[in-house]
Amino acid sequence: MDFEIADDRRMLADTLSRWLAEEYPFALRTAAAYEAPFHRPDKWADLAELGALMALAPESRGGFGGTGFDVTTVFEEIGRALCPEPVLPQLMAVRLLMASGVDVVGDELAGALDGTVRYAVALGELGAPYALDDIETRYAAGTVSGRKSVVYGAPGADRILVAARGDDGRLALAEVDGAAAEIAAYGMIDGGPAGEVFLDAAPARLVLADAAGALQDALDWGALALCAEAVGAMDHAFKVLIDYLKSRNQFGRAIGDFQALQHRAVDLSIEIEQARSITILAASRMGTPAQSRTSSMAKNLIGRAAKMTAEETIQMHGGIAMTWEYPISHYAKRLIMLDAQLGDTDFHLERVMRLAGPGDLAA
């Protein structure tokens, strides 16, 4: 057993953390995340240069990471800094491209990892926000048709990977040129870019004719990334809360002196540790038969812990945390809204119930 963080990952975390602190200090981050284009496209190349994208794939595919822990390292720092860059779809695109075979996409994978090509991944639809089974967008004869809803990072993406049902009823993966899609772009309530993607017989290249497995894999990795992002954001919010409980005085003493608040802060710290643990567990099981069920367990627990962190951190601060000027309000928004990405607590709870447990898998 070894719970130490490997040296190379610690170095990557430190590098990212320093760079994010410099490039996305609170005021600048808020301005960027809430004004079109809702992130800093000019920073994308730097982010890639630091290795944030290379860490998402193994050496055999041109990266230098690719394990669950490489992914959590990157996303924890993104969460801690509330970085609005659409790295999540890039991770999912890397997983999808890797699944589609080296020969076909060797160059494309390189472009995804060095950041020269930015991807969006269009899965959810208005009537199918989370479940792949419910997707109605169609692929036929080199075109895709349908509407994809709340596609993170879609505006300005070079390429969009679209999940669509083929003529044979199977779920296919098709690639659409960003310029070929009609996109209604908007910013999100927690900052960052998204859009409605309208595809009306848009020219598309078939990447995978049978993509169900690859899509599920990409979703599992995406869920893991969101869990790590939440852990980073929760850690930061909790630190700010403890500092505030020590420094805010009412009734002639620090509000942290009140046992009513002490116990709640302790309960919260326990849930955040639980969240960290389930994320570590999920990271350790990526690439094993238990990957799907464990990543769903993590996403469910994270949803609950993130909500508790957001709500309790605001409540224990009092009015100040209700303001735009105070960073905690933005951490709270991110922590709440990431529940609605790639399946919420209930979606993943049902999935955990449905999927066989590790014991059954072994049998």
Partner: protein, 395 residues
């Protein structure tokens, strides 16, 4: 035991309903329903319609211009108004200062201010909280020094709700810094056109502007603007807070939010199935409905006691806690029902065929975030628990 309303109360409910159907402007109700910010004129238009019927100053005795409603009638009105998407009454003038002046005001103050509250010539805001004085209100520092027949005010108030619309502010100020905290406070009426006052907006978590900071630099107000005695402002403030307590459960808002949530769960389809048919979601909704049904009866039991004994007791703190928790849980479920469709920033008008949800649900996430305030203001839920522990449980 009989939980039914009397025939008179039922008749009153019908009367309220037909009044709302007739007099509540549709454009205003639509804004409330879709979570759009109301303008000053919107509030005034609705409140004028109420005053025309003498249904505006519901906390005032009949002689003073109130409708003479019982607590139960007031409750019925609040329930119906919320369900019809009427705006909340901006309570600072009519429900806070009005009753205070009726009890503590001089004849001159009553004659000058009360009619202007009813006619809405004055828009009041509440200057209690300060950056350093929230829950511990008695530690407030804004200073007022007597200079001949004026007070000179220096300091800062914050969280001033709708101060951007206000032309008057009632303030708690420190007039005796040597006395014990509660003993050195006075209650002053201030015309915001007085030189030396600056109002700065505070942007809230979801991006809206409803609160402000108010700065006072050598602001001179006539000594006649003192309400009650000098250094006895705490008594006045406490009296006002008991009025802040009426309707604290927000039953009407919860009823409306639950009805809206059920509509949403019926309209929302996932994989062709309605969300309301998803057992997990339906269970979460049913649980809140159960809590709400119980809370409504607890609230009626407290109203019944208040009707018997005169004033609401400290038990109303229960309703503040339960009422806010239920409303927040309903907001939470609405946001979850929408899923990713709750994500767009509310000011982004995504319209026409790009719209993600019906307009009445578009503000769900913003409402969820904004309503985190209801367990903080008006005495935080922690402070309510302290009150219950001490005054009700005797701990």
């Amino acid at each position: 035991m009989d939980l039914s309303f009397t025939p008179e109360e039922e008749a009153f409910r019908a009367e309220v309903r037909s009044f709302l159907a007739e007099k509540l402007p549709a454009d205003i109700a639509e804004k409330v329903k879709t979570g759009k910010e109301l303008t000053k004129a919107d509030h005034e238009r609705w409140q004028a319609a109420l005053e025309e019927r003498h249904w505006y100053a519901t906390t005032w005795p009949k002689e003073a211009g109130g409708p003479g409603w019982t607590p139960v009638e007031r409750h019925i009105f609040d329930e119906e108004a919320a369900m019809a998407h009427a705006p909340r009454i901006v309570s600072f003038g009519v429900h806070m200062l009005g009753p205070v002046l009726l009890k503590f005001g001089t004849e001159a103050q009553k004659a000058h201010y009360l009619p202007k509250i009813l006619s809405q010539e004055h828009w009041w805001c509440q200057g209690y909280s300060e950056p350093g004085a929230g829950s511990d209100l008695a530690s407030l520092k804004t200073r007022a020094v007597k200079d001949g027949d004026t007070y000179v005010i220096n300091g800062q108030k914050t969280w001033t709700t709708l101060g951007q619309h206000a032309d008057h502010i009632f303030c708690l100020v420190r007039t005796d810094p040597a006395a014990k905290p509660q003993a050195g406070i006075s209650f002053l009426l201030v015309d915001m056109a007085t030189p030396g006052i600056e109002v700065r907006p505070i942007k809230l978590i979801e991006g809206g502007h409803e609160v402000n900071e108010v700065f006072f630099t050598d602001v001179r107000v006539p000594a006649d603007n003192l309400v009650g005695e000098e250094n006895r402002g705490w008594t006045v403030a406490k009296y006002l807070l008991t009025h802040e307590r009426t309707g604290i459960a927000g039953v009407g808002f919860s009823n409306e939010a639950l009805a809206r949530l059920k509509r949403l769960a019926r309209e929302t389809k996932r994989g062709g199935k309605r969300l309301i048919d998803n057992p997990l979601f339906a269970a979460r909704m049913a649980e809140i409905e159960i809590d709400l049904e119980a809370m409504k009866v607890t609230n009626l039991r407290l109203l019944y006691e208040a009707q018997k004994n005169g004033a609401p007791g400290p038990e109303t703190s229960m309703m503040k806690i339960k009422g806010t928790v239920i409303r927040q849980a309903l907001n939470d479920l609405a946001r979850r029902a929408l899923g990713p469709a709750a994500a767009p920033f509310p000011s982004e008008d995504i319209e026409g065929n790009a719209a993600l949800v019906a307009p009445e649900h578009a503000g769900a996430a913003a409402a969820y975030f904004n309503n985190r305030k209801i367990s903080i203001y008006g005495g935080s839920n922690e402070i309510q628990r302290n009150i219950l522990a001490k005054q009700v449980l005797g701990l």
